[in-house]
């Protein structure tokens, strides 16, 4: 066991974890951030995407001990009460949701993209989201949602 410190959605946590414990499992089962999903457990589907120190990462491939001292952002940190983020709003407005299981990971990937590139081209959106599988929507509405979110945030496109 090892004691680690995590900041998740701006709140600080100190907890004991095993050396082989996966960050995703710690977030979901120990800290109850179940909005972050597990779709494959091998970094191929993007359902577990979170932001770790300003970068989108698949939390199923990261050991909890590796995240010691990091700042993490999950889907739960994107809204405060009824007050949802611009990206979340855009996903609703563009109907970029069907079953909803990939949605948290998609929104987080979109957030990481727009944080570093507020005005992405369609190709840049596709590259940023190409690690997130959605089996329901066919992606068209998701692409539009990211464009809309960029516009709302003041990008030019």
């Amino acid at each position: 066991m090892k004691t680690i410190n995590l900041t998740v959605n701006k709140r600080k946590y100190q907890l004991n974890v095993k050396e082989n414990e996966i960050l995703l499992d710690v977030l979901r089962t120990k800290l109850n951030f179940t909005g972050t999903k597990e779709g494959c457990g091998e970094g191929e589907c993007g359902a577990c995407t979170i932001i770790m120190d300003d970068k989108a990462v698949t939390s199923c491939l990261i050991l909890a001990v590796e995240a010691d001292g990091s700042e993490l952002e999950t889907i739960e940190g994107q809204s405060i009460g009824e007050d949802i983020s611009v990206i979340q709003e855009a996903f609703i407005e563009e109907n970029a949701i069907q079953c909803g299981f990939c949605t948290p990971g998609m929104i987080i990937s979109a957030k990481a993209l727009l944080d570093r590139n507020p005005n992405p081209s369609e190709e840049e959106i596709d590259i940023a989201l190409s690690g997130n599988i959605c089996r329901c929507t066919g992606y068209y509405s998701i692409r539009e949602a990211v464009k809309r979110a960029a516009e709302k945030k003041g990008g030019n496109k």
Partner: protein
């Protein structure tokens, strides 16, 4: 207000919960005291179980229960009861669950599974359907004669044939005599996986008195309850099935899956709740898939381009269990010559057992598979008789007055496949082929393909809806259809809003399904949800309106006939200022002096499929279809003439949906379905080693489309009303993915002149065909 609500883009119900991550799937659930289950899977495609030693696993601290097939003398099955919960006596595919453990942690369960020793005697196996129907083939089920089955399915004991559907129309020999051309081809496609993003997950809690509560990622709570009751010999009323948010289904969560296993594990663990979650590897290996299909088509055509005879053999690769496979075989046969009128038909559709993971329902229910063959055959014929693929289809397409292969007459309530074809051909300028502006070595190609499908379901399929008023004059609608992404609940809310003349925001569709409280629905499958639950909802609204008027008539001192419903009020038709609000009536009307009448308002509606009949076992004649949805795709590709590499530039897709209830959700279904079909067309397919091991058991080896793969897509909605559909609507959940593969294949055929007959269509295979063509 109310006139506009039908067809309006009302925002998807539960969108807020989904974008905030607060939507709780069974994946996310924990029940107090919960144990975790893990399965031991067969490493062999076909082997006798000689001995299972569970002693080491049982003695591991934290292990509560170890079960093997010997402990579970039950079989489950939808139509043909042929499946062990855990393999007993022998294993029939690599990945079949042989033993299962319930333990305090998932890690302990995994460790315990590793400690189970199983001794096998490997048996000869069969992987290819063409081998499996040979006389000397190893038998997957030796006990076919003894299995319980639904009376409309016909297994053939002593063979690997689980079911055989025959369609006989006209006189096939006479038909071929009339033909100027007879064209024969064979087509193949592999098994594919649904890859719903939430893997199959269930929690069961066994309770005293032979009762059980289940939380499960299922499409059909009542089917789970019914099959569990039948399989484990429990009372229906003692089983409570809860379905919260479900992370995608596509047919893969229809029927029943791991619910019996977790129920048995919980029962053996003193009633501790037990959760099972499929890993992605298990999802590929041990959860059923879409069947593979081998098709042989022999078509007789006149020189004018009229099809006069069609002889077809479908061999469905059902894998080790019949499950939905037998019904796919039946349903696809009823649509088995495509949306065309052919006078002379002989069609044989057989479900064939092999030693592979078994097949089940998958969006399209056999139709993507058969239309791969039918629509490729259309282009191969068109080339041979030198007619335009468009003209050829137009000449033979079903239209008013046509008779289908099962003897159904196409009338004025049917959709129009010809309008769909016209629309997509226009969208890609299909007539203008051949003129090329591309770099040398590149060729543009265009392809079209038609489709049709009706819900595949028992003739007596039924559903029901409850409506109740809340204290503030809003209403709750309760149905047992599960909305796992289709958006049907939003459309149903729009129907209630229109019927009761209330704002859609005041309609709450109860999200979580529970068999204890919800009215019955057969299953959430077959693109019948909006059609059937929509009709049941309209009837519930009519019941509610009647009750509102009956109560209001007394204080308004009016006859019921003189009352109308408008603006959330019951009004006297010609004195609209005399009215009572729904809120005043919701819990019973109270007079100023305190006297009260009525009572809390509850209403109900139901709907049952009407006029459907079982098919004649020898000829396949009968009425299998509630409603046919027709459609067409047109595809434009740019292909490399040397390497076979290609890019799909554009897809246009049209469907005769009868009436749009929620455009945004319909477009969403079309976009998602077309891309799923596109995945089947160009990248997806199970591959097995010679000894029957699945080689494609992860997203690394089994690729599905990503956002970077999608071509331009133009969805087109056509609205010829279905007279018995709600507001004229038809289902369009499955249809978008059907016939995408042949449209891609036809476009590549057009570009490169290669006769593609095997899915998925990948550059390697096209390259081989180019080489073959160049060498001949």
């Amino acid at each position: 207000m109310s006139e506009e609500i039908i067809g309006k883009d009302v925002k998807r119900i539960k969108a807020l919960e989904k974008v905030t991550g607060s939507a709780q799937f069974v994946h996310d659930m924990e029940v107090q005291g919960m144990l975790h289950a893990k399965m031991k899977l067969s490493p062999h495609a076909h082997a006798r179980i000689i001995n299972i030693d569970t002693s080491k696993a049982e003695s591991l601290p934290g292990v509560w229960t170890v079960l093997t097939g010997k402990d579970l003398p039950y079989k489950v099955g939808l139509y043909l009861v042929d499946k062990d919960i855990l393999a007993s006596k022998k294993v029939r595919y690599q990945g079949e669950p042989v033993a299962a453990v319930a333990a305090e942690t998932i890690e302990t369960a995994e460790k315990a599974v590793e400690l189970i020793d199983i001794e096998y005697e490997v048996l000869d196996h069969v992987l290819d359907v063409k081998d499996a129907v040979k006389e000397d083939a190893p038998l997957v089920h030796e006990d076919l004669a003894e299995l319980e089955r639904a009376p409309v399915f016909f297994p053939q004991p002593g063979t690997n044939i689980a079911h055989h559907t025959k369609i006989r129309k006209g006189d096939i020999e006479k038909g071929f005599k009339e033909a100027d051309y007879i064209i024969e081809n064979e087509f193949d496609l592999p098994m594919v996986d649904h890859t719903a993003m939430e893997t199959h997950t269930s929690i069961a809690q066994w309770k005293p008195g032979k009762k059980v509560k289940l939380w499960t990622s299922a499409q059909s709570p009542f089917a789970v309850r019914n099959l569990l009751a039948n399989g484990l010999n429990l009372n229906h009323e003692d089983i409570e099935v809860v379905v919260p948010y479900v992370g995608g289904g596509f047919g893969g969560k229809a029927g029943i899956h791991f619910e019996p296993l977790v129920t048995c594990l919980s029962r053996a663990s003193e009633g501790r709740p037990v959760k099972i979650v499929m890993s992605r590897m298990e999802e590929f290996n041990s959860v059923p898939v879409r069947q593979g299909l081998y098709s042989k088509l022999k078509t007789g055509v006149t020189k004018e381009g009229k099809i006069v005879a069609q002889e077809t053999e479908f061999l469905w690769d059902s894998g080790a269990n019949a499950d939905y496979g037998v019904n796919v075989t039946r349903a696809a046969a009823t649509a088995g010559v495509g949306p065309y009128e052919i006078d002379n038909v002989k069609l044989d559709s057989k479900t064939v057992y092999t030693n592979k993971i078994f097949g089940t329902a998958y969006r399209g229910f056999g139709h993507l598979e058969i239309l791969w063959a039918i629509e490729r055959q259309m282009d191969l014929i068109a080339e041979e008789i030198k007619i335009s693929p468009y003209e050829f289809r137009m000449k033979n397409a079903l239209r008013e007055g046509s008779v289908t292969v099962t003897g159904e007459h196409i009338g004025d309530s049917h959709g129009k496949v010809t309008e769909c074809l016209e629309a997509v051909a226009k969208e890609i300028d299909f007539d203008n082929r051949g003129s090329d502006d591309l770099k040398p070595g590149k060729k543009r190609g265009k392809g079209i393909a038609l489709l049709h499908k009706a819900p595949a379901m028992p003739t007596n399929t039924g559903t029901a809806a409850f409506l109740k008023f809340n204290e503030n004059g809003t209403v709750n609608l309760t149905v047992s259809l599960v909305d796992y992404g289709q958006g049907t609940y939003t459309a149903l809310a729009q129907i209630v809003a229109d019927q009761l003349k209330i704002p859609v925001e005041k309609v709450n569709v109860v999200w979580e399904q529970n068999t204890e409280t919800q009215p019955y629905d057969w299953q959430t499958v077959a693109s019948k949800g909006l059609f059937m639950s929509g009709n049941a909802t309209i009837k519930a609204c009519e019941d509610m309106k009647k009750q509102l008027k009956e109560v209001a008539a007394q204080p308004l001192r009016s006859s019921v006939e003189d009352l109308i419903i408008e603006d959330e009020k019951v009004k006297i038709r010609h004195h609209k200022d005399k009215c009572i609000t729904f809120k005043e009536l919701a819990m019973g009307y109270t007079y100023p002096n305190g006297n009260a009448i009525g009572g809390p308002l509850v209403a109900r509606g139901n709907y049952i499929a009407q006029g459907l009949s079982n098919l004649d076992p020898e000829t396949g004649q009968g009425l299998p279809a509630l409603d046919w949805t027709y459609g067409a795709h047109a595809v434009e590709v740019i292909a490399d003439q040397e390497t076979g590499e290609f890019e799909v530039v554009k897809i246009a897709s049209a469907f005769d949906i009868g009436k749009t209830i929620n455009k945004s959700n319909v477009i969403g279904q079309i976009q998602g379905g077309v891309i799923q079909g596109y995945g089947s067309a160009v990248m997806e397919g199970y591959q097995f080693s010679e000894d029957g091991k699945l080689l494609t058991n992860s997203f690394t080896d089994y690729k599905v489309p990503s956002i970077a793969d999608i071509p331009e897509l133009k969805p087109i909605l056509i609205e010829n009303a279905q007279k018995d559909g709600p507001y004229g609507a038809r289902g369009v959940a499955e249809h978008p993915m059907i016939s995408v593969p042949p449209a891609v294949g036809n476009a590549l055929h057009d570009a490169l002149g290669v006769k593609i007959k095997e899915m998925p269509v990948i550059p390697e295979k096209i390259f081989e065909l180019i080489e073959k063509k160049n060498n001949s």
